[in-house]
Structures are given as structure tokens and as C-alpha cells.
């Protein structure tokens, strides 16, 4: 089944992370996990910058800003 990704998460909405896309490099997926993008974590979108700019999300007690490329690689369940 095709999941939504963080990129589709609307502002002020909360979702649960399902996992990372399988196409990611090891280095990248390790880093994302260390930054807190792990299955089961809940993630909230704080802001979407205009013109497809970075997304700002709240996750595990921190606020992170990620660009489209990363956001599209994180699968969520709304």
C-alpha cells in the first residue's frame, strides 16, 4: 500500500511515522533515525514555507526543518 509522506502533512496536523522509504542510502536513513524520524513517533507540521520551501516539524521534543527531498522520504499514517 502507498503511504502518505511528511510532505503531504498539512500544517497544524499530527501524524504517526510509519518508516522511511526504502530507496534511501544507509547514511541518510541512519541520520534520519538519529534525528528522531523513527517508526511510531508522532510528528506535527508547524509550517510549510511558501513556494515548496522547507517544512518545519515538531518531533520528539525538537523542532526540525527539512526540505522537500527529505520530507518525501518519510512515510506517515494520518
Amino acid at each position: 500500500m502507498l503511504h502518505d509522506t511528511v510532505w503531504e502533512l498539512p500544517t497544524k496536523k499530527v501524524a504517526e511515522i510509519v518508516g522511511l522509504q526504502s530507496g534511501l542510502s544507509d547514511a541518510m536513513s541512519n541520520r534520519l533515525k538519529e534525528m528522531g524520524f523513527c517508526g511510531g513517533e508522532s510528528i506535527r507540521c508547524i509550517k510549510q514555507c511558501p513556494f515548496n520551501g522547507p517544512k518545519v516539524v515538531e518531533l520528539g521534543g525538537a523542532i526540525l526543518s527539512i526540505d522537500k527531498e527529505i520530507a518525501q522520504n518519510i512515510k506517515i499514517k494520518m
Binding site: A27, N30, C49, P54
Partner: protein, 618 residues
């Protein structure tokens, strides 16, 4: 620039290394332990080099922050290699992993990985939970004993800012180092997934409720990251930054100027008339004095940049700018080096290390010299004072001279963006296409810590004087001798300098300036401020009998054309005239060709633009 205290190998000092995630407060802790003043600021990636200092018989080493032991970019790899080296080295007596109490889970992910390594290498290891003042503010007290048992390593709770727990930590360190075999971790997490799960569990049990902290942050962000309000706030902050350099510093500058004038008057009236008196008056008060006037501006600039850096806003600004900057081939992370480049290009070029993408980093480094650094301030301020009337609008809130100042800064930035765009489009930077994704952790907003800020402000003035004063002094002396002899009565035209000057005159004639300005420009390749000092000396010689009027007035009476003056300003916006910057670019890029190519390229562009401006305006 480094305050490194070299380790005396015969006495084999034991090292205590401070590692942890970026922005966890390692450098502030380092400063409190060693009494040194490393740069501290509220965004991730401030420290980019190892720095060491001593605390009694121990050597403390401050590391660049790292998110993980699995590198992601080349420069992260350098920092990670350094951690492995420290683990292997016999000199390492103790590893201190600094955690952020307000972000315990994230800190632990890295901390537990290092802890496992420390056990593997048989190294003593302790956790230092920093920023407990933040936790206490929200009424959360950390159960140090329980956490220590769970973690299998000693834990210290402290605050590098309010100094809670610092002296206890300081007293404990020598013993911990001496008996470091006792604090080899007793239990560690083996697998990566285990690290992540345990961090979460421990943080849930011992950490503070993250929502409380975030609520306050979000309220501020709602405004500062708002789509158009946030953009407006960003513009306003940038405008006020550049405007205030002019307006806030003005009274201080006037005070310094009249102070120097009084001193010059007093000294020269006591001494008998003659060559020595003339020398003091022209070379010392005219040359060196005319540049000291600008010290207050540099202090104000450093103060405001420091305020911004410590507030937590810069990371937000970087995020707002990410999309626009990507258009020019830069990253949002380029914003921070660009901003600090307005104080001085050298640390800014080093700070570009935190840009993951090698290509974006290179373009950022190559365009930082176009940011109007504080060495240009004297030149800008002098020429603005000559040509732009002192007018105020909106009850003093906006001032015409300040507006021109702002325009000059903007011009540097716009030029940098255009150059970036061109470089991004050309073959030159295409060898590395790999785009690193953008991911940035936003720090909590904090009130700036006044002590390091004040130190930075004072230090900027000291550095400015120490760096430029000797050069300006020497140039002033040489120029004065060449300009005063062989016959003072014959005037500047008939001096040795006048003779040399006529040879270089044709080079500068197309810019509408005579040889005196030409000499000043050539001299300013030693350091930009020398321009002002040299002119000060030259006009001093010419008007030795008159009162020492301000240099600006002297130039006004002398009748420099408006177009030529504007051309000069443009020249100084663009030209790369700083040996130290060239050396830093060379070191960071490893290429002589890039470094000297920039000098030639920006020099030619500056000349061309000055020529155009002069011809259009006259």
C-alpha cells in the same frame, strides 16, 4: 587566532575531551572550565575546529558538535575522525559527553553511541547534563543518581550559563582522570536500534516534558515564521541592523574624534614647531587617529550580530532564506556565514564548513568576501560623510546617511548572489553534483548571555586596532617621509611621493580620482582601513599649518567629484583587499588558484564598476 595551549609532551598532560551534539553548550562549558573565550552562539555548528585550553594540570579539549558517529558529510567525517583519535590516544584521560537537559532523548542517541565506544576502548567516560537551569525553570529536577545507575556511567547535572554544579564538576575532574579506569562504562547499548529505543525510554522516564518547552517556542515562531509577517520581520531586522551601525555609533564616533582632536591640539602646542611636530600631527594624529574614530562602529556591529547569534533567530532566518538562496545555488545554511561575514570574512569562511554540500560550501566561501566586512566601515563612513548630507526623516528613525550605508551593504549582498548564480551555472562548480538534503534543527529561543557578548564586543575593538594599527602606523610613517621630503615648502606635488604618484596617475584617471587617492587605494591592499589612514596623512601634510579639521571636511574642501566618490565606494564594496582572507580561502579550499583568482576577478570587477559609476554620474 587559536588560543590553543600546546601540550607539553614531556609532562604528558592528560586530556579531558568535551563531545556531544551541536548546540549542547560544550563551548560555554569549555570557557567556564578554562577561562578562555571560545565562540558561543545559539545555533548548531558554531565550533568547527578542536580547541584546547588548560584547567590546572589538565588539558580540556572542545570538539565540534556531531549528531552521530556515522558521518554524513566530509567535514563531519573530520570531526568524527578526531573523536576516534581521541579514543585511541593514550593522552585522553577522560571523555565527557555533554547532554542537553531540555532535549535529553536526542542527546542520548549520540551519547549512548559514544559510551559504547568508550567501553570498547577502555576509556573513562562521564555524562554532563548541561542546561539544567532550563529544566529547573520549568520545575523539572533531574534524578542524577537514578539516571547514572541506568546509564552505567557517572552523571553530572550542571549549567554552564548559571554555573550551577560547575564547581563540583571542576573539583571532581582531577580525580575522575586519575582513577579513570573506575569510570569505564559498565553497561552499554550494542545495536543502533537499541540505542534509539533506550534513549527514548530513558528520556521518557528522566527527561522533562517536551511539550512545556515547545509551547513557548511555538508562540514566538508563530510570528517569526509566519508567511508574510515573518518575512517582514526578517527585512526589518536586517534593515535595523545596518541602519543602527550608523545611527547608534554616531555619538560615540563624535566623542572619539573630538578626543583625538583635543589630544593632537594639546600635544602639538606643547612641542616646539618643526619637523617632529609636523610628523606627530600628520602621521600619528592624522593617519592613525583618523582610523580610530571607527572603533565604535565596529563594536556596535559586533554587538548586534552577537545578539542575533545568541537569540536562536539565525537558524530561523536560515530556514526562511533556504528557498530563495537555493535559486542562486546556495543553501539556507549559507545565511549564517554571510551574516557573520559582515563583521569579518575570516571566521565566516571557516563557518561555511557546516554547509553539507561541497559545491554550495565552495560557492559560499568564494562570495563571502563580497559581504561588507568591518574593515570597509571606515572607508564607507568617510566617503558618506563627505558626500551625503546629514538628513533625518520620521523623527530621526531613518537617516539619509544610514540609508546609503544600507544600500552599500545590499549592493555587496546582491553582487554576491549574482556571482553565486553565475558560478552555479558555469562548468566550474559542476564537478560535484551531489545535492545534500537540507535538515536543520531549530534551537530554543534564549536571552543572550551578556558576558560572552560583552567580551566579544570589546575583543572586536581590540582585534580591529591590533590588526590594522601597526600597518596603518607604518604606512603613515612611510607616506609621511615620502610626502614631506625633499622640500616641504614645495608642497606635496614636489615631494618624492608626488613624483611616484604621477606614474600611477594614469591608472586611476579613468575613475576620476587623482594620484593621492590612487596611492591610498594601492596602500589599502595591505588592509582596507589603510585607505583612511593614508588620506589622513596626505591631507595632514598639505594642511599642516591649518587646524586639524576632520578628514571628511578636508576632502570636501579639496573638491573630490561626486561621481568619483561614488565610484570609490563601489570599488570598495567589491574589491578583495585582505591578505588574511586570501590565506583563509586558500587554506579552506586547498587551492592557490581559487584564492588569487578571486583577488584578480573581484579587483577587475571593482575597477570596471567604479569606472561605469564615475562616467554615468558625471
Amino acid at each position: 587566532m587559536s588560543s590553543t595551549v600546546s601540550v607539553n609532551s614531556s609532562r604528558a598532560q592528560q586530556k579531558v575531551v568535551l563531545i556531544g551534539r551541536p548546540n549542547s553548550g560544550k563551548s560555554l562549558l569549555f570557557n567556564q572550565l578554562t577561562g578562555l573565550q571560545q565562540k558561543v552562539a545559539n545555533f548548531p555548528g558554531v565550533t568547527v575546529e578542536l580547541k584546547s585550553g588548560s584547567m590546572k594540570e589538565l588539558t580540556i579539549v572542545d570538539f565540534p558538535g556531531t549528531y552521530s558517529l556515522h558521518s554524513f558529510s566530509q567535514d563531519e567525517q573530520v570531526a568524527i575522525d578526531a573523536i576516534y583519535q581521541a579514543l585511541d590516544s593514550d593522552e585522553t584521560g577522560l571523555i565527557v559527553c555533554v547532554l542537553d537537559a531540555s532535549r535529553l532523548e536526542r542527546s542520548l542517541v549520540f551519547g549512548l553511541q559514544v559510551q559504547a565506544l568508550a567501553k570498547k576502548h577502555n576509556k573513562g567516560f562521564v555524562f554532563a547534563i548541561n542546561m539544567i537551569d532550563d529544566a529547573l525553570r520549568f520545575g523539572h529536577e533531574i534524578d542524577v543518581k537514578g539516571l547514572s545507575e541506568e546509564l552505567g556511567s557517572p552523571v553530572f547535572a550542571l549549567s554552564a550559563k548559571t554555573l550551577i554544579g560547575i564547581s563540583e564538576f571542576q573539583q571532581a575532574l582531577p580525580d575522575l582522570v586519575k582513577n579513570n579506569q573506575d569510570c569505564i562504562p559498565s553497561r552499554v547499548s550494542e545495536s543502533h536500534d537499541d540505542v534509539i529505543n533506550r534513549s527514548r525510554q530513558l528520556a521518557n522516564h528522566f527527561g522533562m516534558n517536551a511539550n512545556v518547552v515547545l509551547k513557548q517556542q511555538n508562540r514566538i515562531d508563530q510570528f517569526l515564521l509566519h508567511n508574510w509577517l515573518g518575512g517582514l520581520a526578517f527585512m526589518t531586522i536586517m534593515f535595523l541592523l545596518f541602519q543602527s551601525i550608523f545611527t547608534w555609533a554616531a555619538p560615540l564616533m563624535d566623542a572619539v574624534e573630538s578626543g583625538i582632536g583635543l589630544m593632537a591640539g594639546a600635544v602639538t602646542s606643547i612641542l616646539p614647531e618643526g619637523i617632529f611636530n609636523d610628523f606627530l600631527n600628520d602621521a600619528i594624529f592624522g593617519g592613525v587617529g583618523s582610523f580610530l574614530v571607527f572603533v565604535p562602529q565596529i563594536m556596535v556591529l559586533t554587538f548586534i550580530i552577537g545578539l542575533l547569534e545568541d537569540s536562536g533567530y539565525l537558524a530561523r532566518a536560515a530556514l526562511i532564506c533556504h528557498k530563495p538562496l537555493s535559486f542562486f545555488g546556495l543553501s539556507g545554511r549559507s545565511f549564517i556565514p554571510y551574516l557573520s561575514g559582515h563583521a569579518c570574512a575570516i571566521p565566516a569562511i571557516m563557518a561555511a564548513r557546516t554547509i553539507e554540500s561541497p559545491r554550495k560550501r565552495l560557492i559560499t566561501m568564494m562570495t563571502i568576501p563580497l559581504m561588507s566586512c568591518s574593515a570597509r566601515l571606515p572607508v564607507y563612513a568617510l566617503l558618506i560623510a563627505v558626500f551625503i548630507p546629514h538628513q533625518q526623516y520620521l523623527g530621526g528613525l531613518v537617516n539619509l546617511q544610514g540609508m546609503v550605508f544600507f544600500c552599500l551593504y545590499m549592493m555587496g549582498i546582491v553582487t554576491a548572489l549574482i556571482v553565486s548564480l553565475v558560478m552555479n551555472k558555469t562548468q566550474f562548480a559542476q564537478n560535484d553534483k551531489s545535492e545534500m538534503p537540507f535538515i536543520l534543527e531549530l534551537p530554543s529561543y534564549r536571552l543572550p548571555h551578556w558576558k560572552p557578548l560583552m567580551y566579544r564586543v570589546l575583543n572586536s575593538a581590540k582585534y580591529f586596532i591590533k590588526r590594522a594599527a601597526p600597518v596603518i602606523f607604518m604606512v603613515a610613517v612611510v607616506i609621511w617621509f615620502l610626502g614631506y621630503f625633499p622640500v616641504h615648502e614645495g608642497g606635496l606635488e614636489n615631494s618624492y611621493l608626488g613624483f611616484i604618484g604621477h606614474y600611477i596617475e594614469p591608472v586611476f584617471a579613468p575613475l576620476g580620482i587623482d594620484w593621492r587617492y590612487g596611492v591610498a587605494i594601492l596602500m589599502s591592499f595591505l588592509a582596507r582601513e589603510v585607505f583612511v589612514g593614508t588620506l589622513g596623512t596626505l591631507f595632514g601634510i598639505q594642511g599642516a599649518d591649518e587646524n586639524i579639521a576632520g578628514l571628511a571636511e578636508n576632502i570636501q574642501h579639496d573638491g573630490l567629484a561626486f561621481g568619483a566618490g561614488m565610484g570609490l565606494l563601489v570599488f570598495y564594496v567589491i574589491a578583495l583587499q585582505c591578505v588574511a582572507t586570501v590565506a583563509t580561502i586558500r587554506a579552506e579550499t586547498g587551492s592557490h588558484k581559487i584564492a588569487w583568482g578571486l583577488v584578480a576577478g573581484y579587483g577587475a570587477l571593482a575597477y570596471l564598476m567604479a569606472f561605469l559609476v564615475y562616467n554615468v554620474l558625471s
